[in-house]
Symmetry: C2
């Protein structure tokens, strides 16, 4: 009974992580805005920023992995590999949020010391998309963190009763 509910819990967390990372990927990948400054049309796309490209790739990997791993039976010999990959995917998604978040913060506030002006005033729709993608990705990371804590709990309980 406990085992079934524990399995259901991790299944739901994986589905949540898959949905959240899929949202993050789609929202970031469809972000687009343009503005006209001094007669020039400036485009804003995620492809123009390496951190946002990394964010899309990392979340797509996180989504694909979360879906594939649903089909690994919990008693299979692959379970140990799944725990290792869970740790790596959690770190990958964390890195993606941090890198994209750093650039989003810069777009919002700018950095006067480096002479980098904020850009969100000119391209608000792009900035809102990025913010939405970051929130989705954060849900995915929290799901993975809970998944890892759940794994630690279920694996270690027999050892430290």
């Amino acid at each position: 009974m406990v085992k079934a509910s524990s399995r259901l819990f991790s299944l739901l967390l994986r589905l949540l992580a898959a949905a959240a990372t899929l949202c993050a990927t789609v929202i970031m990948a469809t972000s687009h805005d343009s503005t006209t400054l001094f007669g020039l049309t400036l485009d804003a796309k995620f492809q123009y920023t390496p951190s946002f490209k990394f964010f899309v790739v990392a979340n797509a990997i996180g989504c694909g992995y979360s879906l594939v791993v649903l089909f690994v039976p919990p008693t299979s010999s692959l379970s140990r590999l799944v725990i290792v990959l869970d740790v790596m995917v959690a770190m990958l998604l964390t890195a993606a949020i941090a890198a994209a978040g750093a650039l989003a913060q810069l777009g919002k506030r700018g950095n006067s010391h480096a002479g980098w002006l904020p850009t969100c005033g000119q391209i608000p729709s792009f900035c809102h998309h990025v913010m939405g993608a970051l929130i989705c990705a954060l849900v995915g990371v929290v799901a993975y963190l809970l998944l890892l804590l759940h794994t630690i709990h279920t694996v270690l309980t027999p050892l430290f009763p």
Copy 2:
């Protein structure tokens, strides 16, 4: 015998992580450069960039934690908490590298689409410090990743012989 060598291995990894994160904190915290542009003196300090401040704080936490946890005996009831904190510190250090790395890349290459010019040409010493700090922090993250893989291996081996 196996247990003693396993304990020694994780001890060495924690010492490596502590040394690497200490180096990363000190190198980033002491990074400073200034340049004169059009008669104005421009300063470059880590405090001027939120991502670099986060990097220093995260690595200082990582260093302090790595040292404190050396005094937790492996058979104590705190062992489970140590594994949970290991996961969180690994994610924190990953986020710090990603955020600082995103800004370092921007400083080096700039982003013509956003109108952000590269700054490393003007403040090379600051950029070299940041690069050194990132390499040290990367060593710290790899040490934590190995530590987690080692924990997974030693904890799960009795369950999946």
